[in-house]
């Protein structure tokens, strides 16, 4: 029931806004629908906490600690993003960068995008998971090109082609998985149901599964943004509207990583050696290092934070690759805090670039003077994302680094160099934007900074104290990821 609600509300929202998305009250409606989704997700979460994992609708959907936590996170960030998008999109309209027809597309697609992400997370059918994931690409590709500028079109085209091709590989992987499962579970719908696959995972054919994992890793990994499959990511983040960058970075990447981790769990059951873990660690490490060195070359503020997302997805992938209760816990925590922090950063970045009229970091100066909240938001957010305690990003990095030092000491020099370079790059660019003499103008609509500080407050809290129920939640999910 709650599942239907979680999926139904955004779908209804998409329909509603497809009809009325150009009205004056559309931004509010968007926020209300997202709030509805959040409430539904909260109900779902409450039920999982009370009753434990369950499946529904002929086992096509299921909820366990792993995905319910992502559902809650997704619904929450999707909601706060609508709060941010309200003044942001109005300002964009005010600046004549968008017209009402585009806004209708935007609002409708935003809801549909939320829907596809939630569908990906909740789907028990590995095939449907693929379908929903491709759906997420389709819904966002038009949002990336919303401004219809040459750059945005180029970005959207690359996003579309690369992700579609990538995800086609994941379909091949899914077919191979089905092929292996069919032998154990018999033909038909059950052989693609994750809950069933999980139960028989040790009986699945290892050769096939290792091949399947390669295809799925390349496929979903493209969406995660793992180097060298990441090339679409900075373009799409930089050229789309900022709320979309926020949800892409904060949510979509998580969802894609979720798919990778789900595949990994199955493969680990079938294979003796830590095949999938090794691959993920390799890709994770490569992404971290590559992204770090890219960071220092950036001029566009959103592009820079997009690379930072690649870096952090690399850290998570590395953490999940290492496996074990601590690393998996760290990976999950990092998903949470990265999602919250990065979206908060994009909120402030959005307002900052509107206030200065550009995304060029060389022209954004002295935010703290024009608007202390934007300035502090950006400064604290950046410091948080760079792993400065007492923010929660540090917590997970602490666990990842210490575990790595214990189990894979060879990897730590790379991490050390990458984190250092990333720090120099991002902080060196953020500091002059925040401090100094200002170039910012007053915004026509007061910026929505409540979401920023709510996100940062949660991240701060997670750095100092993780509530017990959240710990249980992470632990159960981590135990299951292994």
């Amino acid at each position: 029931m709650e599942i239907a609600l979680v999926l139904g509300v955004p779908l209804a929202g998409a329909l509603l806004l497809a009809l009325f998305g150009h009205r004056r009250w559309a931004p509010e409606a968007n926020a209300v629908m997202s709030l509805g989704t959040l409430v539904a997700a909260a109900l779902l979460t409450a039920r999982v906490i009370a009753d434990g994992p369950f499946a529904a609708f002929d086992e096509q959907f299921f909820v366990d600690p792993f995905n319910v936590f992502l559902v809650a996170l997704t619904a929450f960030v999707a909601f706060t993003t609508t709060l941010f998008s309200r003044p942001y999109m109005r300002t964009e309209e005010h600046h004549k960068r968008l017209n009402s027809a585009r806004l209708r597309l935007y609002h409708s697609m935003y809801q549909l995008f939320t829907f596809t992400m939630l569908l990906t997370l909740l789907s028990n059918n590995v095939g449907m998971l693929w379908v929903a994931m491709e759906g997420a690409t389709l819904t966002t590709v038009l949002l990336v090109s919303l401004y219809r500028t040459p750059a945005s079109l180029e970005a959207a085209w690359k996003y579309f082609i690369l992700c579609s091709v990538g995800i086609a590989q994941a379909l091949f992987g899914t077919i191979l998985l089905y092929f292996a499962a069919e032998k154990v579970l018999g033909a038909g719908g059950n052989a693609l149901l994750w809950t069933h696959l999980y139960q028989v995972r040790s009986d699945l054919e290892p050769t096939v599964l290792s091949l399947a994992f390669v295809f799925m890793l390349v496929g979903y990994g493209t969406k995660v943004g793992l180097a060298p499959l990441h090339n679409w990511l900075p373009d799409a983040h930089a050229e789309g509207p900022t709320p979309i960058s926020a949800v892409l970075s904060g949510l979509l990447l998580n969802v894609a990583l979720y798919a990778v981790v789900r595949s990994k769990v199955l493969v680990d059951g079938a294979l003796e050696r830590n095949f999938s873990g090794g691959l993920m660690m390799g890709f994770g490490l490569l992404s971290v290092v590559v992204a770090a060195f890219f960071l220092s070359r950036q001029k566009d503020i959103k592009r820079m934070f997009a690379y930072s997302s690649i870096e952090h997805m690399g850290i998570m992938t590395f953490a999940f690759g290492m496996g074990g209760p601590v690393a998996a816990f760290a990976g999950l925590l990092h998903m949470t805090v990265h999602s919250l922090t990065k979206s908060a950063i994009f909120f402030t970045v959005g307002h900052a670039s509107q206030a200065c009229g550009t995304q060029d970091m060389g022209a954004i100066r002295g935010l703290i003077q024009q608007s202390p909240t934007i300035g502090w938001g950006l400064a604290l957010g950046s410091l948080a994302i760079l792993g400065m305690p007492p923010f929660g990003v540090f917590t997970s990095e602490f666990m990842v680094l210490t575990t790595a030092m214990r189990e894979h000491p060879w990897a730590t020099p790379f991490l050390l160099v990458a984190l250092g370079v990333a720090f120099a790059a991002i902080f060196g660019k953020v500091q002059p934007m925040v401090f100094g003499e200002t170039t910012a103008q007053r915004l026509p609509h007061p910026p929505a900074l409540v979401p920023v500080f709510v996100h940062l407050a949660i991240v701060l809290m997670l750095g100092l104290y993780i509530p017990p129920y959240l710990v249980d939640w992470y632990r159960q999910a981590a135990a299951f990821i292994g």
């Binding site: 390669v214 060195f293 601590v326 540090f394 602490f398 680094l401 030092m405 120099a424």
Partner: protein, 675 residues
């Protein structure tokens, strides 16, 4: 109080700091709240903390676990003698600085002062938590919070580009160091994911991993302490910060790095090796000499003081290094002496460097200048500051009977234990480090003659024809709160200098609790008047008697002179060998004072000199001395990073076919790998 309640009280004092900081955010129309109430309250909390710490040094250790932090690793707190000693340092120095700050920030607007108040007290509290932390996570959180809050304090005047870049450099190096420390904790792990210090202590490391852990920790803490070549942030950040903050950073914050080094090396890793000690000694000697030599050629007062902090960190490292060598070779009594000397110097430096930075702050506040070349004759405008500054200057120059001398004396005594060592090479090297220390001490004296002579004595200097800035602006001496802060720290210089025996006993207890061995019984039995590191026949020093005799002799002299002398005095213009037309521009400048040293130690400096030509209509002489480490370490690293990032950018050439090719090749590569 017993030790658990002391720990709880210390925790309460630290939390009080946090609370005071938050109170600063209360919107106020005037800055009076923060100035009149909050900063003095912070000083009281500091005093309380110092009292708790002093008691804790004599009690068994106590621990506490807070229900915060990681699920597997809640916040552990522990108050043992070492932590007690550093709390004493933090509390007592910060008390003086807070009182001073209450007077110093008088011209800030309310909003800004509120923010400063928050950052300042968070900074203090985080230092307290660094000292109290008993697990890797809380330690790191407090450590980085300390860096972060001090970064914001450094960039208080963020409109100046130089201050921004100083802040950036500071936080950058601090963060790199923190990562190294984090990895050091990672190496020291004891069991699955348990990073409480108890677990780290229990962990049994192989010599290789113990050395890796030590090197990482040494790098990480060294970055914060300001040892070469990681010191570059220090002379940039300390001048940039408001003076009370500089005093805290130089006085206390870099000492937390010493705390970390001692904690990790002696306590957590344990089993100190003499090779580590040699490394520390070599780095320490380099840091000492380099710091003082660069200090000598500075003309920005706060920058000069910052380079002296580098030097003093080097001196502390020399003490630590000698201690480690002695422990490594199995001479615990001499090792304990070295540790005591290092810790004593840590405290001393905190007190006199705090005092000097506050004095510099008063000058800056009163005259608006930091450039020594523009100062002069301040002793007449601000006699009280001049007096306290003199105390600080004499103390840092290691002149008896003030406190700087005591710790250097202890260092020399440690070095004189060298004949105990069996290894011939090490044995003959230790005296070399003592020679370094002696040289540095004499150079420091030279430098402070320069500082004091140029800033406070003589006449106000003209600068490029403009009216003497110092004379024009300097109207006022420090206000009452500022005076109180200065007096507190100056008193500290005297107390630590005149009553070293009780401090020695306290530190002996600290060392014994860490290493299980202390000084010989003979050393401990001597009375409070005498400082006896080994046995009375070998070495002793009694500052009180020393001072009394000096004072007595001077008084007798004055009395005797009075007997024969009639007492007539005439005041006249200076004679100056009979040269006519004296102007104030003919006085020595700071640059001139450093120039001789620049010549003697030429190759150490990167000197850029511009000499005017003979027929130049408007002759101009300029001299810029740069830190060679920029060219040796920092710029190559920056260039390497840039080079690599250029190469990496090649991945992203904008062509979609290439991107598809990457995916394709990745896929094919992995498939080949799987087969």
């Amino acid at each position: 109080m017993d030790s658990p309640s002391l720990l709880a009280a210390s925790l309460a004092a630290s939390i009080a700091w946090l609370a005071i900081g938050l109170l600063g955010l209360i919107p106020a129309r005037e800055s009076a709240l923060a100035r009149r109430v909050l900063f003095p309250l912070g000083a009281l909390a500091g005093l309380a903390l110092a009292a708790f710490g002093a008691q804790a040094a004599w009690l068994p250790s106590a621990s506490l676990v807070l229900p915060l932090g990681l699920p597997d690793l809640p916040f552990h707190l522990r108050l043992d003698p070492l932590a007690g000693f550093f709390l004493l340092l933090l509390g007592s120095v910060s008390a003086g600085v807070s009182v001073y700050a209450a007077g110093y920030f008088r011209s800030e607007s309310a909003g800004r002062l509120g923010l400063i108040c928050l950052q300042y007290h968070v900074f203090l509290a985080s230092m307290a938590f660094v000292i109290l932390a008993d697990d890797a996570y809380l330690f790191m959180v407090a450590w980085e919070t300390m860096a972060l809050s001090s970064y914001f304090l450094v960039t208080t005047d963020h409109r100046l580009p130089a201050i921004r870049s100083a802040g950036f450099l500071y936080l950058m190096i601090a963060h790199l160091g923190a990562l190294a420390i984090l990895l050091a904790f990672g190496v020291m792990h004891g069991g699955e994911g348990d990073y409480s210090f108890d677990a780290l202590r229990a962990a049994n490391l192989s010599p290789f991993w113990a050395t890796v852990a030590f090197l990482l920790a040494f790098f990480g803490f060294g970055a914060k302490a300001g040892m070469i070549p990681l010191h570059a942030w220090l002379p940039e950040a300390h001048p940039a910060a408001p003076s009370p903050v500089s005093a805290l950073m130089s006085g206390v914050m870099i000492k937390t790095a010493i705390y970390g080094m001692v904690r990790v090396t002696y306590d957590l890793i344990g089993g100190v090796r003499w090779e580590w000690g040699m490394l520390v000694l070599v780095v320490g000697a380099g840091t000492t000499l380099f710091g003082v030599l660069y200090a000598l050629v500075q003309h920005d007062l706060k920058r000069l003081l910052a380079y002296h902090s580098v030097e003093n960190i080097g001196i502390i490292l020399l003490g630590l290094g000698m201690s480690m060598v002695f422990f490594g070779f199995g001479h615990p009594a001499a090792g304990a002496l070295g540790l005591i000397a290092a810790l004593y110097h840590t405290f001393n430096h905190a007190v006199f460097k705090g005092l000097l930075f506050l004095g510099a702050g008063s000058i800056l506040h009163s005259t608006g200048i930091r450039d020594l070349n523009a100062m002069g004759g301040l002793i007449r405008k601000m006699p009280i500051v001049a007096f306290y500054f003199l105390v600080g200057a004499l103390a840092i120059s290691a002149l008896p009977p003030l406190n700087g001398f005591v710790s250097e004396w202890l260092m020399f005594q440690t070095a004189l234990q060298a004949p105990l060592l069996e290894n011939g090479v090490v044995r003959s090297l230790i005296p070399l480090f003592a020679a370094t220390l002696a040289l540095a001490g004499a150079l420091t004296a030279m430098c402070f003659v320069k500082v004091y002579g140029i800033a406070f004595l003589g006449q106000p200097r003209e600068r490029h024809g403009a009216p003497p800035a110092a004379a024009e602006h300097a109207g006022t001496d420090a206000g009452p709160m500022e005076r109180l802060g200065l007096a507190w720290l100056a008193a500290g210089c005297f107390v630590l200098g005149l009553f070293p025996a009780s401090m020695l006993l306290t530190l002996n207890r600290v060392g014994a609790s860490l290493t299980g061995s202390g000084l010989s019984d003979e050393a401990l039995e001597s009375s409070w008047l005498w400082l006896v590191p080994t046995e009375p026949a070998k070495a002793s020093y009694s500052p009180i008697i020393f001072l009394l005799v000096v004072v007595a002799v001077v008084l007798i002299t004055i009395r005797l002179v009075r007997l024969v002398y009639h007492g007539r005095v005439r005041v006249a213009d200076p004679w100056d060998c009979g040269f006519p037309e004296q102007t104030t521009r003919m006085q020595d400048t700071a640059d001139a004072f450093g120039q001789a040293i620049g010549r003697v130690f030429g190759p150490i400096y990167l000197t850029k000199r511009h000499l005017p030509a003979a027929e130049d209509a408007a002759p101009k002489y300029s001299l810029r001395i740069e830190d060679r480490h920029w060219h040796w370490v920092y710029l190559p690293v920056a260039r390497l990073t840039e080079f690599l990032s250029e190469k990496v950018a090649w991945l992203q050439r904008g062509r979609i076919s290439t991107y598809l090719l990457y995916s394709f090749l990745t896929l094919i590569g992995l498939l080949v790998f799987v087969r």
